[in-house]
Symmetry: C2
Subunit: 281 residues, 2 copies
């Protein structure tokens, strides 16, 4: 699945300038001192813009970084992706440049980077037949200050994704206390008795935009949905499992940790809800 996923960016803006480089003094490089968003672009427009923007601002606030003006960001995304039709826009906001030392500089101007990537090609059958999922050895560490936001400290995800080649389409990550948290690049939902269950993300994990939309859909349609602690045994007893993010939409699970799953009607119903938006469903 990564062949399409792994292509270099098509073009990029750094602080509004068409440019593919940034200073080695940038704290994004030095310390991972920043946040990012990965956004689906359709017909040249970023999808779910307000939600992505909200999370970006929440992340900036948590780290004490001044968020970029939202109109400016939107303008830059559209100027970069407007002609591309289907694409992926990635936004990175760092604390900016500084000299050596962890101390966050008061005077630094945040760096904003927008990169356009080609739309990824996912393997055939993932929506019809479901995906195969590995249970990763790599664990997520717990820190409530960093939980939920999409910051640039992503070594745990990198090492987790390095555990397999192409034999799985996603990896499930647990935290240091064996709680189920998320996929390496997606959130996870468990379906049991026509109800949804998804992990609490107050200690680690990223609060995905698609996860939030699924919870809102459940609320609107009176589908029981719980945000709760989950263990691997809860997945073993489940009727079905799904992974979701803003690019893939919803991926049902065919196999996870050696166990086979059917795709329950509730998963199909949720996928149908988003079929207009993710027509490759």
């Amino acid at each position: 699945m990564d062949t399409g996923d792994r292509e270099m960016g098509i073009s990029s803006l750094v602080n509004g300038r068409l440019c593919a480089e940034l200073s080695v003094a940038d704290r994004g490089l030095q310390y991972g001192d920043g946040v990012f968003e990965t956004i689906a672009v359709k017909d040249g427009l970023p999808q779910q813009w307000e939600r992505h923007l909200r999370r970006l601002r929440r992340g900036c606030k948590r780290l004490g970084i001044k968020p970029p003006a939202s109109k400016l960001l939107l303008k830059e995304v559209v100027s970069l992706c407007g002609q591309l039709g289907r694409a992926v826009a990635k936004i990175i906001v760092t604390r900016g440049q500084s000299g050596r030392g962890y101390r966050p500089p008061v005077a630094a101007e945040p760096t904003r980077i927008v990169v356009a990537y080609p739309w990824p090609r996912y393997p055939e059958g993932v929506y019809d037949d479901g995906i195969k999922v590995r249970v990763c050895k790599m664990r997520l560490s717990c820190n409530p200050v960093l939980a939920g936001i999409k910051h640039l400290n992503r070594l745990e995800q990198v090492l987790a994704r390095g555990e397999w080649e192409d034999e799985y389409q996603e990896g499930l990550m647990l935290d240091s206390r064996n709680r189920v948290i998320e996929g390496t690049m997606s959130n996870v939902f468990v379906i049991k008795d026509d109800a949804l269950h998804t992990p609490k993300l107050d200690q680690c994990g990223v609060e995905g935009v698609m996860r939030q939309r699924l919870l809102e859909l459940a609320h609107q349609q009176n589908i029981p949905a719980a945000v709760t602690e989950l263990a691997l045994v809860d997945l073993k007893r489940a009727d079905g499992v799904l992974f979701c993010n803003s690019l893939i939409g919803v991926w049902p699970v065919q196999e996870l940790g050696g166990q086979s799953y059917k795709i329950p009607p509730l998963t199909r119903r949720i996928m149908d809800e988003f079929a207009g938006e993710f027509p490759y469903l």
Copy 2:
């Protein structure tokens, strides 16, 4: 203390080229996917080179990054800092460039960055009178796979250092289970009954070059030294506390978490051992 510390780099090499920029596609920026070293330069030569190199290679191995050839790195550090006399050399090694996606690319060539910084000016009196230390609110999260190495995921240190301005010279960090681990930019030793105690770093923290040298010195001179679990109460009962790293050498503590300390004879003895190397002692 950060005024000197915070100046921008004097010059830098990126993959051997005199250059101050790097690609926005570099995984060092995208995910903090790399490691670094901060090295004291004296008379144009990097100090404790072999120890820094060993930790850099250990970090690369842990992350699955091909380490740069050691002779090449040394040549680059000397070419950049050789004329500077006293300076600081920072080496960053990232996994290199890739497209979108956490998956570590097989084909990527690691990026190596060497930056020269001016020697920092530390506040007067820190060696004679000792430093004031804050106990940070920000906690270190636990992940044995990332513990000990000096990787680029440093948001916890950044946020910890953001808790104060100039009223302290260092901040003590605990882990999520309240164990004492290290300073934001240094390692910590406790002195009690003429023995040294320093925290185990198998769950979090960075194994500092100066920490290792203090442990070896203790071994050579038959000073009792233990690598162990420590809690704040152990610091309260201590005769003295010290912080150390490759740039500051050894800083005795005058005050930590509101408690005053004397500087015990053992701390002075250790400082004297390194006086030739850190003449500003």
